[in-house]
Amino acid sequence: MLSSSTSGDADSIPQHSRDQFAPIPIPIPIPIPVRSLLPHSKLSLGCPVLSRLLSGGLPVGTLTEISGESATGKSQLCLQLLLSSLLPPCLGGLASSSLLILPSLLPFSSLLKRLSRLPSPLHPSPSPLDHIFVASAHSPDHLFMLLYQADRLFQSHKLRLVVVDSIAAIFRSEFDNNLGDLKTRTAMFFKVAAKLKEQAYRFGAVAVLTNQVVDVMGPEMAADVGNNHHTGPALLSSGRTVAPAMGLSWANCVNTRIFLSRNDEVAAVGVNGEDMTVCTRRRMEVVFAPHVPRSSCEFVIRKDGVFGLEIDRQ
């Protein structure tokens, strides 16, 4: 304990305490042989078709974003990932526990219900719920603090998967729209992303976030904003052009971006031309990833999980 001097004079701090605060020397950097990085462990998505879309799954050491409109299956896919991580590596898992961070714990009972409906991957085994940690973060600063506290979970409880559902909800309404706050918000994006990526790299873990989408002006209107804003081929959902929320700076923070969309299509029309059967077609698209090309596949959401239908490459 430091003495109760209030002058703030450095000499009043005893020497042994001062040594505790000496700067830690940074060790000499050592190059990592690239061959030792092969094969790169991946977390399966819980369905072979969807995992094949990502060449095995989400790579360890990277940050993946799953964006989409509401009710496109983001949270359901996250639950599937939480269970998948329990599996041993030979079955595409990480043999690990996982951490789920939500903006609030209010929907906790419905979360438990959804989790219990999914088939448990381990037989016979203790309940998978013993290996899933849940926390709520009500602001970006709180989220950052939670991640710091999670360091000990990585070390002692073999935590290898962190899921944040959703990052947009945690960042929303925390900042006003003036320029100073926007800069702070952008800096916070990078701070959170850097922390998640560092933990993923140091502990061989996977970090996943879900994000919402916002409407964007279609390419016909692009002339007004200048076509400089073109960040790639358009993403469509429910017949509208959308883009993941939190803007261009956030897009620079993630390694992999997955986009879930749904479109209602007329499957059949009755004889009188009035009875229409509408079906919801769901699509998972890899917008960018460090290890796979742009591609997409259709999927369905069933009671027992999210499953892909077939793969077509664009």
Partner: protein
């Protein structure tokens, strides 16, 4: 005429002179197959000529006189040095053409673009292409890859190295004894071993690695390329004092420029984009601010043109501004025309 001093047979010498190759610099960036075609000689003889040229130039550079001021070089020497400058192919012929042969050694090149446009892919492609042996028109050097974001995937580097070797063997089908020893070196594992990969997780580690590079490069003289992917990521967190950030970045770029000249290597910095409010609207611009934009010798912007990927040279002291389309395929970065083989298009 310097050609007359080359240790080559008189018949080949006269062929060179008659075709207009009068000095060594005109032979500095020619591939053996092209030369063989020009002179109508066998490929092995063209390789002999180019080897004689490179031997002569390395011994010549060792004897450049210091002049009155130590370290000073005459403009004439600088010009002939510049003409000997080596380039690293990007994999896309159109892009190589507008760059004047490829990424220049002894210079710092910044490459920026939106996420998903192919910056890391280009970085890995360059790290592979720098290792193409001299006999096949490359530099035969190694690469240092400093990864700050975690986007480098070894399995992707494997695919790109495989694709590069496949294309080389396709282009140079010669089976002579000369090329056999070269072919043996064309193994994917050799290419992977030729990339020195550093993963750093904070801006202090980034500065530490840059400081350490001088020692590393002195020990590994065969490194011809240093890539930082991306130089921006760790600098966009809370640097409360923006002036300090500018100072740190300025020091970083100066150190990298010094290293590029000292060790004759190409430095490639990958950068992110952000929006800037100019002329009443938001425009896309490279991150890290206005003062950073002066720090790099060359600047290439990768962008989307409709559904096509395009590279635009925004700043270069030696080539005019121009644009070239490119593809990211399963084998790596390729040009539009070379994509008639069965390759997955990204």
């Amino acid at each position: 005429m310097e050609i007359s001093n080359l240790p080559i047979s008189p018949s080949i010498r006269s062929k060179l002179l008659s075709k207009g190759y009068t000095n060594l610099s005109s032979l500095s960036s020619i591939s053996p197959s092209f030369l063989a075609q020009e002179l109508s000689v066998k490929l092995e003889e063209a390789v002999e000529v180019l080897r004689a040229v490179s031997d002569t130039t390395t011994s010549k550079n060792a004897h450049i006189p210091n002049g009155i001021i130590p370290g000073a070089v005459t403009a004439w020497d600088m010009l002939s040095e510049e003409q000997m400058q080596r380039h690293i192919s990007t994999g896309c012929e159109d892009l190589d053409a507008i760059l004047g042969g490829g990424i220049h050694c002894k210079e710092v090149t910044e490459v920026g673009g939106v996420p998903g446009i192919g910056k890391t892919q280009l970085g890995i492609q360059l790290a592979v292409n720098v290792q193409i042996p001299v006999e096949y028109g490359g530099l035969g050097g190694k690469a240092v890859y400093i990864d700050t974001e975690g986007s480098f995937m070894a399995e992707r580097a494997y695919q790109i190295a495989e694709g590069c070797i496949y294309d080389i063997l396709d282009k140079f089908p010669s089976n002579s004894r000369e090329f056999l020893s070269c072919k043996e070196r064309l193994q994917v594992n050799n290419f992977l071993a030729g990339i020195f990969y550093f993963r750093i997780c904070s801006y202090t580690e980034q500065i530490a690695v840059t400081n350490y590079l001088e020692n590393f490069l002195t020990e590994h003289r065969d490194v011809n390329l240093v890539i930082i992917d991306s130089v921006t990521f760790h600098f966009r967190q809370d640097f409360d004092d923006l002036a300090q950030r500018t100072r740190v970045l300025g020091g970083l770029s100066l150190r990298l420029m010094k290293l590029s000249k000292m060790f004759n290597l190409a430095v490639v910095l990958l950068n992110q984009v952000t929006t800037k409010f100019t002329d009443g609207s938001f425009q896309l611009t490279l991150a890290l601010g206005d003062s950073w934009s002066h720090s790099c010798t060359n600047r290439i912007i990768l962008h989307w043109n409709g559904n096509e990927r395009c590279a635009y040279i925004e700043k270069s002291p030696s080539v005019p501004s121009a644009s070239a389309p490119y593809l990211v395929t399963g084998k790596g970065i390729r040009g539009i025309n070379s994509n008639f083989k069965r390759a997955r298009i990204m």
